[in-house]
C-alpha cells in the first residue's frame, strides 16, 4: 500500500527518486568525523526554526509588551523556560558549529576548484548567523537589549557620510521607541531566516553537484583541467553512498548536539531577563551575550585614534577577505603545504579567546559596586589614614583603583603604591590626573586630598 503510494508520488513529482539520489549520492570513503560540523550547524538551525516558531506564538513583538510576554513565557507558560533555554543554547551551538565548520573547510582547503561557491554561500551563512545572533539577543527586550541597540546605532553612526542615516535606520527613528523592536523582530524571524533557507538550499545543492570534498592528500594538488575527472574516478573506485555510510556520523553527532543543548536548557536555563527596557533607568551595565563579548573588549581596548577605523573598516575588511578566500582555488590542499592556514585559524581563535577573557573581566569598566575598605585592609588606625581610606571609597577612587583586590581595575592597582611613588608624586597625580584619570584639583579640598595621600603612603 505504502509502496504503491510512494510509486504514485514519485511518478507524479519525482521527489522520491530525487531524495534517494540525494541521500545515496556517492561520497569518498575516507570522510570522517571532521565532516560532521556542516550538518550539525544545519541541525542547530532547524532547532532554532522549530523553537523560534514555538516562542513566536507567545512572544509579543511590541516595545511596550515584549518584556512582559517574555516573563510570561519564562515563568508561566508550560515548558516556556525550557524552550527559551533551547533557543538560547541552540543559538550558541549554531555559532560555535558554523565557526568550526568554516575553520575545517579552510584548513582542508575544500573551497578550492570547483567548490568556490560552496565557500561563498557558506561565508554568507556565517555572516547571517552572526546577524541572527545579534538580533536574537535584542529580542530579549530588557534593559541590556535597549542599550545594545543604542550601542549598535552609535557604532553605525561612526560611518562617514551615511552614519547618521544608518543609526536612524537601526533605531527606526530618533530614539528607541515603539518602532524599534518590531523591525528587529521582522528581521530576526522572517528576513534573515528566509535568506538562510535560500543560501542553505544553494549550499546543499552545490554539495550535491560537486560532491563532498575528499580529504586532502599531500602531493595531489587541485588542477582545474583534471580535478573533476579525478574526483569522479575516486568515487567510481572507492565511493560509498552518503546514506548511511557517511551520514551515520552526522546523525550521531547531530543527536549529541541536540542532547547537549537540551541538557544545558534544563540545567542552566535561559539567560535571565534584566531590568525592564526603560531607557531612563540609568543603573545599567550593558554587556553583549557571550558570542559578542570579545568584540565588546575590542571596542574598549582600541586606541582612541584608531577607533573609527576599527569599527568601520575592520568588519568590511574581514567580510571582503572572507569572501575572497577561494580566489586561490588551485594547488595543494594539504595543510602541510599550507601551514599558514592552520596558523591563521589558531591566531583567530587565540585573538578572540584573549579578547573574550578580557571582556569577561572588563578591567576598563569602573566598579561602581566597590565596597568601603575594611579596617583589616586599612591596617593603620591613625585618624588621617582611616579618614583617607574612607575618602578613597567615597570619592570614587576605588571605582578604578584596587587595594588588595578590592576595587576597580580601570587604573593601576594601588596596593603597594607607596613603594613606587612618593607622597609628593601622589599629590601631583591626584591634582593633575593622567591620561585615563580625571584631574581632581577642583574636586577635592586640600585636606581631603592630604588624607587620601596619608592613606596611600601606608601602602607599601
Amino acid at each position: 500500500m505504502i509502496r504503491r503510494l510512494l510509486a504514485w508520488l514519485d511518478d507524479r513529482s519525482g521527489v522520491v527518486t530525487w531524495a534517494r539520489h540525494a541521500l545515496e549520492h556517492p561520497v569518498p570513503r575516507q570522510t570522517g568525523w571532521w565532516y560532521v560540523f556542516g550538518s550539525a550547524t544545519f541541525i542547530a538551525f532547524m532547532l532554532q526554526v522549530v523553537t523560534g516558531i514555538a516562542l513566536a506564538t507567545a512572544y509579543v513583538p511590541s516595545s511596550g509588551d515584549a518584556y512582559d510576554s517574555l516573563r510570561f513565557i519564562t515563568e508561566q507558560a508550560l515548558l516556556g523556560r525550557f524552550l527559551r533555554g533551547l533557543h538560547y543554547f541552540g543559538a550558541s551551538a549554531m555559532v560555535v558549529l558554523i565557526g568550526i565548520h568554516v575553520a575545517r573547510v579552510y584548513v582542508m582547503a575544500a573551497y578550492k576548484f570547483p567548490r568556490e561557491l560552496n565557500w561563498v554561500s557558506g561565508a554568507l551563512l556565517l555572516l547571517l548567523t552572526l546577524a541572527l545572533a545579534f538580533t536574537g539577543q535584542l529580542l530579549r527586550w530588557d534593559q541590556t537589549a535597549v542599550w545594545s541597540v543604542i550601542v549598535a546605532a552609535a557604532q553605525a553612526g561612526r560611518m562617514p557620510f551615511v552614519g547618521g542615516d544608518l543609526a536612524r535606520f537601526i533605531l527606526a527613528g530618533d530614539t528607541v521607541g515603539g518602532t524599534t523592536l518590531s523591525r528587529f523582530f521582522a528581521f530576526h524571524v522572517f528576513f534573515l531566516p528566509g535568506l538562510v533557507f535560500l543560501l542553505v538550499g544553494l549550499h546543499l545543492w552545490l554539495v550535491l553537484k560537486h560532491g563532498i570534498s575528499e580529504p586532502p592528500e599531500l602531493g595531489n594538488p587541485v588542477d582545474k583541467a583534471t580535478y573533476r575527472e579525478r574526483y569522479a574516478e575516486l568515487l567510481r573506485r572507492d565511493g560509498v553512498p552518503f546514506w548511511p555510510d557517511a551520514a551515520w556520523r552526522d546523525v550521531v553527532f547531530g543527536a549529541g548536539v541536540v542532547s547537549v543543548v537540551a541538557l544545558l536548557a534544563v540545567v542552566i536555563g535561559p539567560p535571565a531577563l534584566g531590568a525592564p527596557p526603560d531607557p531612563s533607568i540609568l543603573e545599567a551595565y550593558p554587556r553583549p551575550d557571550w558570542y559578542f563579548l570579545w568584540y565588546f573588549a575590542v571596542l574598549a581596548l582600541t586606541p582612541q585614534h584608531l577607533e573609527t577605523v576599527v569599527i568601520i573598516l575592520a568588519p568590511l575588511i574581514f567580510g571582503a577577505v572572507l569572501l575572497l578566500v577561494p580566489v586561490f582555488n588551485t594547488g595543494e590542499r594539504s595543510v602541510r603545504r599550507r601551514p599558514w592556514a592552520a596558523i591563521v585559524v589558531l591566531l583567530i581563535v587565540f585573538v578572540i579567546a584573549t579578547f573574550w577573557v578580557a571582556g569577561q573581566r572588563a578591567p576598563w569598566s569602573p566598579d561602581f559596586n566597590a565596597k568601603p575598605l575594611a579596617a583589616a585592609t586599612v591596617r593603620d588606625s591613625s585618624t588621617a589614614v582611616v579618614t583617607g581610606a574612607k575618602l578613597f571609597h567615597d570619592k570614587g577612587c576605588e571605582f578604578c583603583h584596587a587595594i588588595e583586590g578590592q576595587g576597580g581595575k580601570r587604573g593601576p592597582d594601588l596596593t603597594l603604591v607607596a613603594s613606587r611613588m612618593s607622597p609628593l608624586e601622589m599629590v601631583g597625580r591626584i591634582t593633575n590626573g593622567g591620561p585615563n584619570m580625571p584631574a581632581y584639583v577642583s574636586r577635592l579640598p586640600q585636606e581631603e586630598r592630604d588624607a587620601i595621600v596619608a592613606f596611600l603612603a601606608t601602602r607599601k
Binding site: G14, F169, H210
Partner: protein, 184 residues
C-alpha cells in the same frame, strides 16, 4: 543500490533539452521580442511591489519626530548646583511603546532661572553615564569614559563632550526639548 553511482544526481536530467534556435529570422525576432516584453513586465511588476516595500523600510530616514518641550518638574524641586536625573517621554510615543518611550537626562540647576540638561548617552558608544556627585564626574559603565561637570571629557575613550538638551523654565516648570539620541 541505484546503479549509476558515478554521476551526482541533478534535477536537470529530468528536464527536456532546450528547443534549438529557429532558422527563420522572423520567428527569432518574435521570440526575442516576447522575452524582452516579458522581462520588462516582470520588472515593472517587481518594482510596483518592491519600491513601496523598500520605501516603507527606510521611512525612518525621512520621518523626523516633531520636537516637544516636556515638563520634568517644578522649579523649586531642584536645588541650585545639584545635578539630578529627570525622566520624560519621547516626542511622539506610539501607543505600544510602553516604558521604552522614556528618556532620561541629567539636569543641573545653575542659578535661580538657568538649567543645564545633559544627554545621558556617552559620546563613545552611547551607554548611559551616571553622575557621581562626590567627585563631580559623569562616569560611563561600558568602557570607562569620564566627563567633567560641564560635560567636557575628563578621561577615557569619549571623543566629544556630553551632548545637551535645550532646557527652559515655563510657568514654574522646568522643560526639556526632546531630541534625537545624539549620534555621530
Amino acid at each position: 543500490m541505484l546503479g549509476r553511482m558515478d554521476r551526482p544526481p541533478t534535477t536537470q536530467q529530468d528536464l527536456p533539452p532546450p528547443v534549438p534556435a529557429p532558422d527563420d529570422p522572423q520567428l527569432l525576432h518574435r521570440r526575442r521580442f516576447l522575452s524582452r516584453v516579458s522581462i520588462a513586465l516582470s520588472t515593472l511588476a517587481a518594482a510596483l511591489v518592491g519600491v513601496p516595500v523598500v520605501g516603507f523600510l527606510i521611512s525612518p530616514l525621512t520621518r523626523r519626530s516633531p520636537r516637544q518641550w516636556r515638563a520634568v518638574g517644578p522649579v523649586d524641586h531642584f536645588k541650585v548646583g545639584e545635578t539630578v536625573s529627570v525622566t520624560f517621554e519621547d516626542a511622539s510615543p506610539l501607543p505600544w511603546s510602553g516604558v521604552s518611550a522614556r528618556t532620561a537626562a541629567w539636569l543641573r540647576r545653575d542659578s535661580d532661572s538657568a538649567f543645564t540638561a545633559f544627554s545621558v548617552n556617552c559620546t563613545h558608544l552611547g551607554c548611559p553615564v551616571r553622575w557621581f556627585a562626590e567627585s563631580k564626574l559623569f562616569l560611563c559603565p561600558c568602557h570607562g569614559g569620564v566627563y567633567n561637570a560641564d560635560g567636557s571629557v575628563a578621561a577615557g575613550p569619549p571623543p566629544k563632550p556630553l551632548g545637551r538638551y535645550p532646557a527652559r523654565v515655563r510657568a514654574g516648570q522646568v522643560e526639556i526639548l526632546t531630541s534625537p539620541i545624539p549620534i555621530a
